[in-house]
């Protein structure tokens, strides 16, 4: 699939924001003492920026962005619509949380309550985003049980790193130090399992079933319908060499997993560097996640391309 920048940015950024929210909801009750308002302002501000920026970027993908509001109507069948609805609901919850916590410094129970709602909605939104891909049968790399866990764990891991970043920026130790590294490791394991699973996929769909001609023998494309590339070929025909993909996977792993882990460990060992290490870990990891997300699209192959290239899937 064509790795569209707007969609990559959207899923990565909103994943960060929602991941932060999920963790805030979980860890606010554990936080010692009354929640720090500055930390609240920075972390929520960051999350809102990520989510809002992501959503904005996603509208760049639309042919008719001015009609985007229509996307809220079909929540009964469409995961994209559900995502939209959930995204708005979670934004409302996050706004309320922002009001309750950094702005009004409302009672702890109230903050925790709102955070729990926002966190739940955030998780649902990320899951809905993942479900958009998970539900697409023509794309085997997406249509499998690992897609949703990937999105969720990566959102949590990058949320964790960015919460630590907010903590370092404001001098507040919010998350226990082990949480983010554990989440990063978890995400790495899940993504590795995703790759293991999807690399081994054997699609039942072939050019033989796509054309119905399989029973007559091997089917080979002779002439494409048009000599010029068309929308389908540009949108679904993106192909990445195996060699290339492997390299990019290593880069994603290096930047998204190894680098933040090493930074956190290094910070733990050399306290003088700790703050800078944490401040560096999140953005570096995010670059890794961007690469991962680019691969998520680039490696995905759509069965429609079978009509053009017999071995597309």
């Amino acid at each position: 699939m064509h790795p569209a920048l707007s969609v990559i940015l959207f899923t990565v950024a909103s994943g960060i924001g929602y991941g932060m929210l999920m963790l805030l909801a979980l860890f606010l009750p554990l936080a010692a003492g009354p929640a720090d308002r500055l930390f609240g302002a920075v972390s929520l501000g960051l999350a809102l920026a990520c989510i809002g920026g992501g959503l904005l970027s996603s509208t760049a993908h639309l042919g008719r962005p001015e009609r985007a509001w229509r996307a809220f109507t079909q929540w009964r069948s469409s995961w994209l619509s559900r995502e939209g609805v959930l995204a708005v609901l979670s934004l409302v919850a996050i706004a309320l949380l922002t009001l309750a916590w950094p702005i009004l410094a409302a009672p702890v129970e109230c903050i925790e309550m709102t955070a729990a709602i926002a966190g739940l909605l955030s998780a649902a939104t990320v899951a809905a985003t993942a479900m958009i891909y998970r539900s697409l049968k023509p794309i085997a790399r997406w249509h499998n049980r690992w897609t949703v866990p990937c999105y969720l764990t990566i959102a949590l891991a990058s949320g964790g790193l960015w919460l630590d970043w907010a903590g370092a920026a404001t001098g507040v130790d919010f998350l226990p130090r082990a949480v983010a590294p554990i989440l990063v490791l978890l995400a790495a394991v899940v993504k590795a399992l995703y790759w293991r699973h999807t690399d081994g996929l054997k699609s039942a769909t072939t050019i033989g079933t796509a054309t119905g001609l399989g029973a007559l023998g091997q089917v080979r494309p002779l002439d494409p319908p048009h000599t010029a590339a068309n929308y389908i070929m540009k949108e679904m025909g993106f192909r990445i060499a195996r060699k290339h993909a492997a390299k990019l996977r290593r880069i994603a792993g290096g930047l998204g997993v190894l680098a933040p882990l090493l930074l956190v460990i290094a910070g733990g060992m050399v306290p003088a560097l700790d703050r800078s290490a944490v401040l560096l870990a999140a953005p570096v990891a995010t670059i890794g996640v961007l690469v991962e997300r680019w691969l998520f699209f680039a490696e995905a192959q759509h069965v429609a391309m079978l009509y053009y290239k017999a071995d597309a899937v």
Binding site: T211, E235, H302
Partner: protein
């Protein structure tokens, strides 16, 4: 409406005969011509006279080779929307722009509602949806709804543009929900195929497979071998003799 309707009795669609399709592209171009000026138009073309022309088409004709050696065949393969019963291109649509009609099963896009999110084109395994960059909305085969119900047309001409233009009569239009219809009977007789049945989209359109080709392929293959009538050893004159006496 984005949720699929309960399937109705009428399921309009196309039956395409791969045994006779010569790959002439008439259906593709006539479709483009009809629809670009029709209700589902325009079908934009970008950079039409430059190095990389591109455009929106509802129907495209591929050519394949199947099998090797003497058993091999060349098959021309027109591809357009199959008006699936289980049209996930519809259910994924966030706006309701993508819809399947209860009354005849036609899958359509309401271009006034479409936001151009492209998700439906991802959901279609058949590559039947094309995005119109210029207008910013998704496009697809309409089964020529603006022809098949147009009472201003003579009855015989109330068929899709691609069907009426096909010089080889390889395309047939009708109600595949009615087992007694011509198209249903063709499908039954010729074992009409659904594409990618394993994905469960349950397409309405059917393809009639190419018939077996080659030496033994027709009734004529049973023709008796020709026996020389030249009497042994008599050569040309003996042969001539036979001819004259016959």
């Amino acid at each position: 409406m984005t949720t699929l309707p309960t399937p109705g009795a009428v399921r309009l669609g196309l039956v395409i005969d791969l045994d006779i399709c010569v790959g002439c592209h008439a259906c593709a171009v006539n479709c483009k011509e009809w629809n670009t000026g029709g209700n589902a138009g325009p079908l934009s073309d970008y950079q039409p006279y430059e190095a990389q022309p591109d455009g929106v088409w509802f129907n495209r004709v591929h050519s394949y080779e199947v099998g090797d050696g003497p058993a091999g065949q060349t098959v021309h393969f027109p591809r357009s929307c199959l008006h699936c019963d289980n049209a996930e291109c519809v259910t994924v649509c966030p706006t309701g722009a993508s819809l399947k009609r209860a009354e005849d099963g036609i899958v359509l896009i309401n271009e006034d509602v479409c936001i151009g999110c492209k998700l439906c084109s991802w959901a279609c395994p058949y590559g039947a949806r094309e995005f119109d960059e210029d207008v910013g909305v998704m496009r697809k085969c309409t089964l020529c709804v603006d022809r098949i119900y147009d009472e201003a047309r003579p009855e015989a001409e109330r068929v899709p543009a691609c069907v009426s233009t096909c010089p080889a009569s390889a395309r047939h239009f009708g109600d595949l929900g009615d087992p007694a219809s011509d198209v249903s009977r063709m499908v039954a007789d010729r074992e009409g195929m659904a594409l990618m049945p394993e994905l469960g989209y349950r397409p309405t359109n059917r393809y009639l497979p190419p018939r077996a080709k080659g030496s033994g392929c027709s009734a004529h293959a049973k023709s008796p071998a020709l026996e020389p009538v030249m009497p042994e050893g008599t050569g040309f004159l003996g042969w001539l003799d036979r001819l004259l006496s016959a």
